[in-house]
């Protein structure tokens, strides 16, 4: 039928064209831009070059890369350490309780992480709640100066990204067949062994999805270090942003982004390797 063909063509083409022009094309442009020279008057000079990549092997950049990596790995580990037991407990709750608890973890997911990061200033600042608490408990005698240090931005990242770790973990653990733990115990495994050899490997896809959703944003959420960390704690995200909005070196900013994207592709590869038998959508 004519109208059926027409519907199919319309449905497919609208999204296809939209994403081709506004997503695929700009991605390709970033790749191209990363091989162009920085221009004097225009932003780009049409000369192909790899200087934007070779330039990255520079102690200043390498230092920032390294710091970003360390910070985001620590963030990921902390989120995993806090989030895994949480998701594990959540997945074993009774149906009713679980839905309520799940909703409480979805709310932070929906609320602005900028606002949530702003909210912890009041907690962390010198006369803030944390210091007051520690002082009244006589755990410290002088208020700690956490705010505007890299510790504050570390705390902010963990706080902002924790829900992104919990949700994929919960999604896999919810489907977990708890009788497998019984089976392992029956065969002579103690609780710890059953956990490490059965629960953890089977929930690996969830762990990797969670790591992906935390590791990359931890490098690129530039506003968290800017709000909480002060000038000295800039990370990869701030570096890229500065190339575009302040330094005006777009080719360099592009090449850093490409490196970042490669890193992402690597993680996705790992995710797929672990998940190839099962079809599962992220989040």
């Amino acid at each position: 039928m004519m109208s059926n063909r027409l519907f199919k063509i319309i449905a497919i083409n609208i999204i296809f064209i939209w994403l081709a022009v506004l997503a695929l094309l700009p991605f390709i442009m970033v790749v191209v831009a990363s091989f162009l020279q920085q221009g004097d008057e225009n932003l780009f000079n049409w000369h192909l070059t790899v200087i934007n990549y070779t330039q990255l092997i520079n102690p200043i950049f390498l230092h920032i890369f390294w710091r970003s990596l360390v910070v985001s790995v620590i963030t990921t580990i902390l989120c995993l350490a806090l989030g895994y037991p949480f998701a594990y407990i959540l997945a074993q709750l009774s149906e009713k309780l679980r839905l309520a608890c799940l909703f409480l973890i979805i709310i932070p997911f929906w609320t602005s992480s900028l606002i949530r990061s702003y909210a912890i200033i009041t907690i962390l600042k010198t006369q803030g709640l944390l210091n007051q608490l520690l002082l009244t408990l006589h755990l410290i005698h002088q208020p700690l100066h956490i705010l505007y240090t890299q510790y504050a931005s570390q705390v902010g990242l963990v706080y902002s990204l924790l829900p992104f770790m919990v949700l994929p973990l919960y999604a896999t653990l919810e489907k977990f067949d708890w009788r497998l733990v019984d089976a392992a115990r029956d065969l002579g495994a103690n609780r710890l062994r059953a956990f490490w050899q059965i629960v953890v490997p089977i929930s690996a896809p969830g762990i990797i999805a969670g790591v992906m959703l935390v590791l990359l944003p931890a490098m690129t959420l530039f506003y968290i270090p800017e709000i909480l960390g002060g000038a000295k704690s800039i990370l990869l995200g701030n570096l890229i942003k500065n190339q575009f909005l302040e330094g005006q070196n777009w080719p360099l900013g592009s090449s850093i982004s490409i490196v970042l994207t490669f890193f992402m592709a690597l993680l996705i590869g790992v995710y797929w390797k672990f998940n190839k038998n099962k079809k599962q959508v992220l989040i």
């Binding site: 199919k8 706080y159 992906m212 990359l216 944003p217 690129t220 592009s254």
Partner: protein, 254 residues
């Protein structure tokens, strides 16, 4: 595991997640400009908020962008999800791939990609660039949300409708859309909040003539904590929590 230990761990995480937000809301009622201590309750900051005409303009900008972006994105994403579900076509894998990549790629990379695109096309930054960018980054979330709903429905239903003489336009408007209403509403609400809260992408694609709330808040936050800002953030939090609530309720009804 020990029951009370489990319960206290859950409680511990919830406290960590919610305490800062609660403190923020409480201090939006604090009768003192600077202090971190409690000086009695007042609605002064909310009154000031609602009398700040500059802020009102910015808020309206944000609402317009988010409303338009989420509506257009929901429409396109819905069509896209239906196409991905129903049809086999050239480039289907590519489309799936782009949707997946857009969800996992850091917003920052998306932001600079938009910036380079608009620069290359010589479009000056402002309302239109913001709108286009917001529509685009919402589409994949709509596709995923709706797709996960359609895959649960019975393909035979569509066949049955066709068998009774309906063409694809009718199947779409009379069967698919009504059946997917919960998913569509949830997708729209999610898009609205994603757009309304977005800082990273907007940083790259907005111009000086068209300010929006998240960027305004970002610039204010760098100056420090004020009760008025707390009040503004509380209002936004309330809005998004209500949206999340509606979305959950809509999705739970089958």
């Amino acid at each position: 595991m020990n029951k009370s230990l489990s319960a206290s761990y859950l409680a511990f995480i919830y406290v960590i997640l919610y305490l800062p937000i609660l403190v923020l809301i409480v201090f939006s009622f604090n009768n003192s400009m600077f202090s971190g201590l409690w000086h009695g309750a007042t609605l002064k900051w909310y009154r000031e908020l609602f009398h700040d005409s500059g802020l009102q303009v910015i808020a309206i900008h944000s609402l317009i962008i988010s409303f338009l972006a989420s509506t257009v994105a929901t429409f396109i994403g819905l069509l896209g999800a239906v196409a991905l579900f129903k049809y086999q076509f050239f480039g289907k894998k590519l489309l799936n791939g782009v949707v997946f990549i857009m969800i996992v790629i850091p917003d920052l990379v998306l932001g600079i990609a938009f910036l380079i695109l608009f620069h290359a096309l010589n479009i000056s930054l402002g309302f239109w660039t913001l709108l286009l960018a917001h529509i685009t980054f919402c589409i994949p979330f709509v596709v995923v949300t709706i797709l996960s709903r359609i895959t649960g429905t019975d393909k035979n239903l569509f066949e049955a409708a066709k068998d009774l003489g309906a063409n694809d336009f009718i199947v779409f408007s009379k069967i698919i859309v009504p059946m997917l209403i919960p998913g569509i509403v949830a997708a729209w609400l999610l898009s609205f909040t994603l757009s309304f809260d977005d800082v990273v992408i907007s940083t790259f694609v907005s111009g000086p003539d068209f300010q929006i709330l998240p960027l305004y808040i970002f610039s204010q936050v760098k100056l420090g904590v004020t009760p008025e800002l707390n009040a503004l953030c509380s209002v936004i939090l309330l809005l998004t929590v209500v949206m999340a609530l509606i979305a959950q309720m809509v999705l739970k009804k089958k």
